[in-house]
């Protein structure tokens, strides 16, 4: 369109586009000045690719670099996170979680109540797990490189549920226990980072532990990962009083075939 009407339309279009962008910006982006959530770092595809490769190499060289494992998960897991989120949406409890966005942190846990719960309940066993392995839920890295606010929450939830999964499956935080949990998670979630960890983790195990993994533990983990309900869809914060056995039954998880923690507990509790 030419002439005065064309110029008018053109300026109207740009000003409308500008206005709507400003409004949208007010609603979402400007809250964290261009980022989608407080810990968000926007990255290009090239940067994500380099991050994925670099963090993979760094995590392989030094498996204790949890931040590198986290970055690998974030940069490679976009499609899988979408599938996970859809699974959560289709589950009533899962959609409640997506709405309410609970976080598992020391500040949100009621430690005195939880330690007063009877043995065998989720809350008591979880606290025991935290104490025995000397970890806290606050040491989990924040999600940085996921470019969608909801998916970032799903990723964060996955990380926070990881410790609870240790409790549910009865696995300690030594290498064998971690690999078993990774196999379970790989079968459940399908995150590329879990699959990579599951494939490469056994390389660092001793022969005897490798045998244990291959014969009983690994198959159990894979089998249960496939048949269990989505572990991210459980509102753990409301189920501290539930016993582990009941929870396992509800989630369709069998008891671990080899009790890795039992030997430590037996030797200390049997008097």
């Amino acid at each position: 369109m030419r002439g005065l009407p064309g110029a008018f339309l053109g300026s109207f279009k740009t000003s409308y586009g500008y206005l709507s962008q400003r409004l949208y910006g007010v609603l979402t982006e400007e809250k964290y000045d261009g980022r989608l959530y407080p810990s968000h770092i926007p990255t290009s595809t090239v940067q994500k690719a380099i991050l994925a490769v670099g963090s993979g190499v760094a995590a392989l060289k030094n498996p204790y670099r949890h931040d590198m494992v986290a970055v690998l998960g974030e940069t490679t897991g976009h499609q899988t996170l979408i599938k996970l989120r859809d699974r959560m949406r289709n589950d009533p409890e899962g959609s409640t979680i997506l709405l309410e966005r609970p976080r598992i942190r020391l500040s949100t846990l009621d430690l005195s109540n939880m330690s007063a719960l009877p043995d065998g309940t989720l809350g008591r066993e979880y606290l025991r797990f935290l104490e025995e392995n000397r970890v806290t839920p606050d040491t989990r890295a924040e999600v940085k490189f996921v470019d969608n606010e909801e998916l970032a929450y799903v990723m964060q939830r996955y990380r926070e549920v990881h410790d609870l999964l240790h409790t549910l499956l009865g696995m300690p935080t030594n290498m064998l226990g971690e690999v078993a949990v990774k196999w379970f998670e790989a079968a459940q979630t399908g995150l590329p980072m879990c699959i990579l960890g599951a494939a490469l983790g056994p390389l660092r195990l001793s022969v005897s532990r490798l045998q244990l993994l291959g014969q009983s533990l690994g198959l159990w983990a894979l089998r249960n990962g496939g048949r269990a309900r989505c572990v991210l869809s459980i509102y753990y914060e409301r189920r501290w009083e539930q016993t582990l056995d009941e929870l396992r039954h509800e989630l369709n998880i069998e008891e671990p075939p080899v009790s890795l923690i039992a030997s430590i507990k037996n030797s200390s509790s049997k008097s």
Partner: protein, 327 residues
């Protein structure tokens, strides 16, 4: 009628273009370039507005020093590894070039400000020691057939030992100094080196103390650059030399594009993977963009009272060595 309006718009723009981010978004490129230059010139002597830049963010002045401290506290342990990774080892050549241009004679006192892990000081001591050895060798060569008087003279007088060159490493950040001290121990350097915690804007030294003052990759982190330059002028002896090695503006447009792409795409990623710290290295590349270019910095050095100010561009202008004399 148009002129005062334009002047007014320019002034408004220059106030809002402290942050170069806004400059890039501006529609009118010509106004922006003019405003950016005035902003860059003006930021150093604005009396109102107690805010300054921290990378591309705008922060209150009091906060900048603290934020910079935190950045270097967290990167201290991996500082040297990251330098090698980011510059592909070229930073060693830059620092060697600084020493070659400086060409220090044995027996001089060096103040290495923002010296952190001690790279410049170690090189300084090594350079003066090897220079002293070379001078001794030349002296010996020229005295191939000494008279009996000379031989007797040698036995009596000599060898108070080599004139001791001394380097003082001054840094505001104690973590960086710790890493530097450890490096000195590992390298076996015991004499001629001291470590002082101090602020470049307020040096804990008397006037007229040092023969050389260097600040390598540190001055862009200082909140008030003119103050640091004035302090440098104060602590130098008359005849002393000021040298600054710093990232600067690349002149070649193609190289500038490549350099920008590398800086913004690769360096924070490297920071995340090697040091686990994206934000510090994002600050690093942004602070390079905010630093004045070669000519403007040269003028700032001249304003502080230095004479014969010149600069040398290295690697196409990625870094520049500025040098000036206190006369």
């Amino acid at each position: 009628m148009a002129a005062p309006i334009r002047a007014f718009v320019l002034r408004v723009l220059s106030d809002s273009t402290r942050n170069i981010h806004h400059v890039l978004r501006c529609r009118s490129k010509y106004l922006c370039r003019r405003a950016a230059i005035t902003a860059r010139r003006g930021y150093s002597d604005s009396t109102e507005g107690r805010s300054t830049h921290f990378g591309f963010q705008t922060v209150p002045e009091e906060e900048k020093a603290e934020k910079v401290y935190k950045v270097f506290e967290s990167v201290a342990k991996k500082y040297d590894v990251m330098n090698d990774a980011m510059s592909l080892g070229i930073h060693r050549l830059w620092k060697d070039t600084l020493l070659h241009i400086m060409n220090p004679q044995p027996g001089l006192r060096l103040l290495d400000t923002a010296g952190g892990t001690g790279d410049i000081s170690f090189r300084f001591l090594e350079y003066t020691r090897s220079m002293y050895d070379r001078q001794q060798r030349l002296r010996a060569k020229s005295q191939q057939t000494p008279s009996w008087k000379d031989i007797a003279g040698h036995y009596v007088s000599d060898e108070e030992g080599p004139p001791q060159s001394r380097a003082v490493v001054c840094d505001i950040n104690k973590e960086m100094l710790k890493v530097g001290k450890q490096r000195a121990e590992d390298a076996g350097i015991t004499t001629g080196l001291s470590w002082v915690a101090g602020d470049a804007e307020e040096l804990p030294f008397d006037d007229d103390q040092f023969d050389m003052y260097t600040i390598a990759f540190g001055i862009r982190n200082v909140t008030h650059i003119e103050q640091a330059l004035q302090e440098a002028f104060r602590v130098l002896k008359p005849g002393g030399r000021f040298m600054c090695l710093e990232f600067s503006k690349v002149t070649n447009p193609l190289l500038a594009r490549l350099y920008d792409a590398y800086s913004f795409q690769m360096i924070p990623v490297l920071g995340e993977v090697i040091a686990g710290d994206w934000k510090s290295y994002q600050y690093l590349v942004e602070s390079i963009r905010k630093f004045p270019d070669q000519e403007i910095f040269k003028e700032m050095i001249e304003d502080a009272g230095f004479f014969r100010v010149q600069y040398f561009n290295l690697t196409g202008g990625i870094v520049a060595i500025h040098s000036g004399f206190k006369l």
